[in-house]
């Protein structure tokens, strides 16, 4: 692989790296025939971004597939990932780079296993960075942005001005769409008291957008941090951003493209809203200690394995809660699901990352099936028809039609992790946002369970 970025495009490339660095920990370099793609996914798998730089972006582009073919007949070029940190050593100071770098050559040194960045600067100075990389499988989120009912296209400036109004520590922002107006509001959690925190809402007229296509009135909530990273890039390159989205709980896709030279897509999980959309809203497997739901979950997890009876009681309690206080559905109901997840995952974490959990034989299998059975009557959709009872797993399957089920799955990436024996990223998903990938992961689980653990598969079979 060899590519040379001309001076005029260094800025875009460097900013892309910076933007990726704000989302994930590692950058996947994938030289392909149709260009060089840089991808990353955040540790909680709730945000994915992908840049594709077309061959025309480069002064010289060779994806290197030819060489590899001749050597060992592999059909794909090398795919590798490097840590964001090391990549930033190359592009640390963008102001200096923009001023001094005349071209940048990226090559792969297979002998030393280094990804080599050579920056040819003014005055004949050459800076060479030999970065260690890890060979890996491709990272691919499957998403479709063309079919979403809602599309907003706006100049980066407009969105930057909107985002600027939120406090820096604001984690999530809600986008509320109706034919009359588009508004952005800071998302406020139930705790602490929502009445004691500042609410910010900005309303925009549809005319302010380059394109405002409203298919469904909706409210989607997603992380502000990633949005900021995206907008920072869009603003520098001065291109409009398109937002493609559907409803709460379904991923939002942001895309930026410059005709022929490059394209960037960002897929962000959206928070499923408990009140309006119970199905698909619960997000199991919260692993972030910061979430109160997690605390509850871990509590159950601990008690679970020891006393099944208690656990069942708890499940009962949870269900009661759910039926009584519908507002609290998420927090109250989730633990039981998390229990299911966590107890199963914990013992087999290393060899089989979470998505295998149900299928893998482990000590808790019987208990697990018990839980599943207990859940089955409530999960229902079809049996009871009560959306509010839907478990997070099943609903996603239900609501998604087959092709859509894998909307944003990072399955391939998961495979990769497995191969490398990496544990599922240490800092998992922020609470709620996992929904996006979870939906798809869940479907895999169930698929797996069909083959491996027939007991568990029961309900899925029913569903399908």
């Amino acid at each position: 692989m060899k590519c040379v970025i001309p001076g005029v495009n260094i800025k875009v490339f460097g900013r892309a790296i910076h933007s990726l660095s704000k989302i994930g920990e590692e950058i996947y370099f994938e030289p392909q025939e149709d260009g060089l793609s840089l991808k990353t996914v955040n540790s909680s798998r709730s945000a994915y971004s992908c840049f594709l730089f077309a061959p025309s972006f480069f002064q010289d582009y060779d994806d290197g597939s030819g060489q590899i073919d001749s050597q060992d007949g592999e059909d794909n070029g090398l795919r590798c990932k490097i840590t964001v940190k090391s990549c930033l050593t190359v592009f640390r100071s963008m102001s200096t780079i923009e001023k001094t770098v005349e071209r940048c050559k990226i090559t792969l040194n297979m002998d030393d296993s280094r990804l080599v960045f050579m920056l040819y600067c003014k005055h004949g100075i050459v800076k060479t960075h030999n970065l260690a990389f890890i060979e890996c499988e491709t990272l691919q989120a499957v998403f479709s942005k063309d079919l979403t009912p809602n599309v907003l296209t706006a100049p980066a400036r407009l969105l930057c001005d909107v985002v600027m109004n939120f406090q820096t520590n604001q984690e999530e922002v809600s986008l509320i769409l109706s034919p009359e107006k588009v508004s952005f509001k800071n998302y406020i959690e139930d705790e602490p008291d929502p009445n004691k925190v500042m609410h910010t809402e900005l309303c925009l007229q549809p005319e302010e957008f380059d394109n405002c296509q409203v298919g469904v009135d909706t409210e989607v909530t997603f992380c502000l941090k990633e949005l900021r990273a995206i907008l920072a890039f869009a603003e520098v390159v001065g291109l409009p951003v398109s937002l493609h989205f559907e409803t709460a709980g379904r991923p939002i896709v942001l895309s930026i493209s410059s005709d022929a030279s490059f394209e960037a897509n960002f897929v962000l999980a959206t928070l499923a809203d408990a009140q309006t959309q119970t199905s698909g809203s619960q997000h199991p497997r919260s692993q972030l200690p910061s979430s109160s739901r997690y605390d509850m979950a871990s509590a159950t997890e601990i008690s679970g394995p020891t006393t099944t009876q208690e656990e069942e009681d708890m499940l009962d309690d949870d269900m009661d809660d759910e039926m009584l206080g519908h507002d609290e559905t998420m927090p109250s109901y989730t633990p039981s699901l998390q229990l299911d997840d966590l107890t199963a995952t914990a013992p087999i974490r290393k060899p089989a990352p979470s998505r295998n959990r149900q299928g893998s034989p482990q000590p808790s299998t019987s208990r697990l099936s018990e839980q599943t059975e207990r859940q089955t009557p409530t999960i229902p959709h079809r049996t009871t028809g009560g959306e509010q009872f839907a478990s997070p797993v099943i609903p996603n399957q239900n609501t998604n039609t087959k092709p859509m089920r894998i909307d944003v799955s990072l399955l391939e990436e998961d495979d990769d992790d497995e191969e490398e024996e990496e544990a599922v990223p240490g800092t998992p998903p922020s609470k709620k946002f996992r929904s996006m990938f979870f939906g798809s992961q869940a479907s895999t689980c169930t698929q797996l369970s069909q083959s491996v653990a027939p007991v568990l598969a029961c309900d899925t079979d029913d569903e399908d």
Partner: protein, 281 residues
Amino acid sequence: MALSTQEGSGDSHYVLNVRLDNAKNVSNLLKAIHFKETATVFASSMGLKVTVEDAKCIQANAFIQEGVFHEFTIKEEQLTFKINLTVLLECLTIFGSTSFPGVTTSLKMCYAGYGCPLVLILEEDGVLTDCNIKTLEADEVLDFNFCSSNVVNKIIMKSECLKEAFNELDMSSDILEILMSPDAPYFRLSTFGNSGSTHSDFPKDSDMVESFQCSQTQTNRYKISLLKPSVKALGHSTRVSIRTDNRGFLSLQYMIKNEDGQICFVEYYCVPDEDLDEPDH
């Protein structure tokens, strides 16, 4: 701008008595070597030399020649004392570092001899500050015995491009490797950090390089933590001379132009790293 303090009266007992109209000319030089708390000051009829050392491996000297001062009187052959450089710099910049055009801080500095405090009187726009800084017993400073006759390689270049290279040094690397050679790659700075190795190559015919006198290929490694502070001097300087002698000792000389257009020098000496293992890149 003259100091409003009376001259002559009471100044007679000072062995060192200096005065200048722009304290910045001194403070900028001192900032360039400020990587340790204490500094040793040598005063002679030539001017002041301020020395800072660390780990018995690196030494920085700032030379403030007599010509920088408007008045420079010394009653002894040589005076030596140690002083807290941080405090001295704080005093010198007590009126703040932002300067309005035409407004400068004038300085009068006196020292009465062994055991006495260093007396600073600063004035800006009619505001007067009086500082007394305790002096300490001077220790012996290192002698690197760096003779120009033993110099093997010497490069003089504009500071600008080196500044960038130093600012971006990968600090996860323990060492900075400096290669100087009459052949390609001529002058190379390398680091070997967690994420991989980095080389910056400067060709000898670059317009940044003003003089290139390398007689043999030399690759020496220096502790990056020791050399990093020299970036302060680099920042103030316009030109830098990089020299290595036959033992691999490094001398970095920085040419610093002050606001009055006078040229002063700051130099750093550094010992090479003993470890002769091959770089693990």
